[in-house]
Symmetry: C2
Subunit: 335 residues, 2 copies
């Protein structure tokens, strides 16, 4: 074991989409666990859109990353040394390790993983993205058999599970994704009834053709032109869980004020629009794991991972993900 | 009794704010009630912002008024002739009479009024606006003692009751209204803790000064610059019942796209934004009347009416109301 660990620090706060210079790869002496702490060698790191918010100074869901602080994030890894009786050397665990090769984590922030499933499932389909899909669809989508659901970023780890859960609940499911390959994945792998390329011209007409009965649930991952296209197709008493607005991370894209029309649609169509952040809902995580772990283990749920190699490539993979460059849950495998 | 009745017809569909030429005063032969119908002489007519939506071709909450059709609306009046056993000549009733001196109304669409209260209360504090305030605050505002509520158009028939109900529920209540006189009414007559003139420059700062703990419920009657000023002051898990967007009836007012910021605020602050239309909720009206009638009769609830004289002046009063020219519930008293 090297005597130095590696980590990705926030070098400066980005303006709009992050660029490589906003990050810095740093070395530091290996930390040592104190009482009640566990020392973990990270094998896989999760990259998620929420991390973009943490790079800002304020106003996002949670505390900012400090300049020169380690980028936040969940990882999985092996316990190297433990000073808590709940964990032993060699245990496979997950927790908030940050973007780093090694981490000291409080024992109560770690969870042991089931060895029978690939450890990366703890970052994707059985991790935060999967739990986000499961919770948000149930609590804010409130699906009913026979309804129609549309989801943006439909081959991502949240969207792909939203679609599968909605389909299983008896809804017509329509994917909106970027490019022909993702559209093919949406229908063939994730079982959506239809898929629409958001790069198509006449996006609204393309979606309309696939939702003959309108849209009852629009799962909002993106904002931007997809929202604009979907809004006129929403049915009365429709629901819009807002899970992300990734299309606007790079700044506004409109040339006119779209707020009056959207706000009036919410009124006229009696829509229920709910922003939610999964960090508010962790008390439901055990119930989610209990329900979904056997379904994933049985192969009833499809999931897809996009694995970048090496901690040093985490910034590039993250930047690419924010503009849809990934296909499936973005993970970084550490050397 | 004249052999002719008078009515206000929709002459053409308005573009933005209506103008007098969009309406036409017409005469017609007196109608006669059929079986199960009641013939009413209208004494008071209600003017409400929702009627603007009915003037459009489509896309509003409910069926459009046809060109040359009588403008829709609720009235109160006296029964002149009845062909239904539930009503007799001389009864004081309310129902959807339209903007007209006389109307034939199906008996099941009429309600007898309590003679002990002014009949106009059936159009305001105990009518649709009052029921809107009561229902929307309970179901979509979900007030909790100690929270802060802000309401736009605060001296209107909906806003003034929202404020009083919220105050009674233990909330700090902040009125936003147009002009010094309405601000004075808001605090002195309707008991708001503070009132802010939306014509003030630095609107956001003015509101911020009165909401030291932020805003938990923003009752949306207007949209426009009030919404823009309030949004940054919303607390996490805040609620925004959307009851109207009257500021945008004349068209959009923004010079840049405000949608990305608002949409992201809904996410980041986990807001619950619900459009609602009171016509969906009529099954709760008896419970509302049972609770609120004694409170109004006892003088516990303040209300204010702005009474225009003569059916021919209904269009001008309606147009004025849409830009805040009224003070209190707008009513037209017929000759």
């Amino acid at each position: 074991m090297s005597s130095q660990m590696r980590r990705i620090a926030l070098a400066r706060r980005p303006s709009g989409l992050p660029v490589p210079e906003d990050f810095a790869l740093k070395e530091a002496p290996m930390p040592a666990p104190g009482a009640g702490e566990v020392f973990v060698e990270v094998t896989h790191l999760s990259l998620d859109p929420y991390m973009r918010g943490r790079m800002d100074d304020a106003g996002s869901y949670a505390a900012s990353v400090d300049i020169d602080g380690t980028m936040v994030g969940q990882g999985v890894g092996r316990v190297i040394a433990s000073r808590d009786e709940a964990f032993a050397e060699g245990d496979l665990v997950t927790g908030m390790t940050g973007w780093a090769s090694h981490a000291v984590v409080p024992a109560q922030g770690l969870r042991k993983l089931d060895d029978r499933l690939p450890p990366t499932t703890a970052l994707g389909v059985l991790g935060m993205p999967g739990f986000t899909a499961w919770t948000g669809l149930r609590d804010f989508g409130r699906p009913k058999a026979g309804e129609t659901l549309a989801v943006a970023a439909a081959t991502g780890p949240v969207g792909s599970l939203v679609g599968q859960l909605a389909k299983a609940a008896g809804l017509r499911t329509v994917a909106i994704a970027g490019g022909a390959e993702k559209c093919r994945l949406a229908t063939e792998r994730f079982g959506f009834d239809a898929a629409i390329d958001h790069r198509a011209c006449a996006l609204r007409e393309a979606i309309a053709a696939e939702v003959p009965d309108g849209i009852d649930i629009y799962w909002e991952n993106t904002g931007g032109k997809v929202l604009e296209a979907v809004m006129p197709l929403m049915n009365t008493h429709g629901r819009i869980p807002i899970c992300g607005t990734i299309a606007w991370y790079g700044g506004a894209d409109g040339t006119e004020d779209r707020l009056p029309k959207v706000w009036r649609s919410i009124l006229v169509k009696r829509l229920s629009v709910n922003g939610f952040i999964i960090f508010d809902h962790w008390d439901g995580y055990p119930a989610f794991l209990e329900e979904m772990t056997p379904r994933v283990a049985a192969g009833d749920i499809s999931f897809l991972e996009d694995v970048a190699q090496g901690l040093e490539n985490a910034p590039a993979a993250f930047i690419s993900m924010l503009t849809g460059g990934n296909t499936g849950k973005q993970i970084v495998q550490l050397a």
